[in-house]
Symmetry: C2
Subunit: 308 residues, 2 copies
């Protein structure tokens, strides 16, 4: 089943200790789709300026992404430039130019309205609401957000969450939204306000799923070289939602797998600049790394004898 | 099989957002043993002042700890006072008085010399070496250390590590010892210098085992209330080494279980002040929580169909 994905389609200039990339494909919708299309078709809604190298998105189309919802408008595309530090856990934003993204009003093409799975990338909660208003019968709505909206558009965000099934955010955002340092309590606070599932992305520390009465955990995949962390969280969301849409189920068995596929895609994402790793990724690589996650976490709980 | 454990036997005064405890049992050897004795007998070597409430250690003796290696010397016991902040991830040390621990020279009783499993708690590397010199034929040697020794006694520490099989430290210490931010690379650097197994404790983010060609991961157990984090790392070491000694094996299957039992004991440790949680812990609770860890991490890697 196709996933409707709304988010940024951007150009990034990135410096890491390993190198430099200039004006390469970026943005939440691009990273999401590059990962999600390994599992399900995606319909992208976004906006770019007339400077955008649209031809570079052709690889997404080949994988089953429908790009007809990406508007081209006169002006400059969303541009972000950043530099990662030695340990790759901190970064400086060198430049942000919103360009045509500043006035982004998502327009949902007629043919996208029957989407059952929706991923609302990190844009204003009012716009995320607006997108939902233009989908006929959304079955699974996932959304991302950030500190900017938690602080500045809290009311609108909480109102949006009533219509959301899965909140996908990082640990800082969960804590900030619920004003509670304990993740278990913070997730419960949010779950009482709408989303029945909270996916907490913790970067190198892995990810957690808080559900009704159960919790699931995936580790960060240990990599010798994190080449470029940009977009890892969106790639995680893509792997997660891609599997959710593919399986058509929110059963614990499928949600667990979705978490693992999210982790797999997040881990591949950081192995190269931009979405380059996904361009040369084989579906067999995805399956292979899922098994590696199993090797990293599986154990026999049963112990014959127990002292004392 | 009995574990020889050398470390501090202390008194702690602790303040957390949930309450206050004055001059309660603390120290690495105490937390280690309170956890390890659920799996294996322990022989403790340490020193206390004549102010120490030795009778309070009776519960350890009942569980199978041999306290005959705890010397009582004239003077004050090692005393630590600290206060945890709101989110419990940071703490202030209010007071440290080393007392008789300042001149601690571990004396290994004759009857302890045949120990096959040794845990060297966080003391000077020279003293840790000294302990090993007084054990006839140690089979599995695990040790802890801290930034103080990594900085000030680096040469002695590296010399000790040549005789150590398992290094149990936190992520900061691994990075500092190897002078390398990447945990995988840092662990390999250390593994090339002696210990074939590196256990990295990451607090709320879980723990990782780096072994020869494989990695294993356990999450932090999600608790609504972390009551008092003091000693969690030592309790982890106790659960880990307790199972290693019980199983008598360093096979991957048993090492994985050891990691889980370490996590289980670490998680119970923080549920109350001092070692109080272990006093009312049932072996069945240990097994139950190990199964919970399985529920938190187990998934079916096999997926029937795969798109693309």
């Amino acid at each position: 089943m196709s996933i409707l994905c709304v988010g940024s389609v951007a150009l990034d200039s990135v410096e890491t200790p390993f190198g430099k990339a200039e004006r390469v494909l970026g943005g939440s919708a691009v990273f999401f789709s590059a990962a999600a299309t390994f599992f399900s078709p995606v319909r992208i809604v976004g906006v770019v300026g007339d400077d955008y190298p649209r031809a570079d998105l052709a690889f997404l189309e080949k994988r089953g992404a429908d790009l007809s919802g990406i508007e081209t408008r006169p002006g400059e595309s969303f541009f972000w430039a950043g530099r990662y530090h030695y340990d790759l856990n901190t970064r400086d934003t060198l430049e942000t130019r919103l360009g045509v993204f500043a006035d982004f009003r998502p327009r949902i093409p007629e043919g996208f309205r029957d989407s059952r799975h929706v991923f609302l990338g990190n844009i204003a909660p009012q716009l995320q609401q607006d997108v939902l208003d233009h989908v006929d019968a959304p079955e699974v709505v996932a959304c991302d957000t950030m500190n900017y909206w938690i602080e500045g558009s809290r009311k609108e965000l909480l109102s949006l969450l009533e219509r959301v099934h899965i909140l996908l955010v990082n640990d800082e955002e969960v804590r900030q939204l619920a004003d509670e340092p304990n993740l278990l309590k913070a997730s419960r606070w949010i779950r009482e306000r709408g989303p029945s599932l909270i996916v907490v992305k913790k970067g190198e520390h892995g990810a957690m799923l808080f559900a009704d009465g159960w919790v699931f955990f995936t580790p960060g995949y240990p990599l010798e070289n994190v080449f470029d962390p940009t977009g890892a969280g969106d790639a995680f969301a893509g792997g997660f939602m891609g599997h959710v849409a593919r399986s058509g189920s929110l059963d614990p068995t499928e949600l667990r797998r979705a978490m693992v596929f999210g982790s797999v895609m997040g881990s591949y994402s950081v192995e190269d600049f931009s979405v380059d790793r996904f361009k040369r990724l084989d579906p067999a690589d995805v399956v292979r790394r899922a098994w590696e996650f199993r090797e990293m976490t599986a154990f026999e709980a049963h112990v014959e004898e127990h002292r004392v």
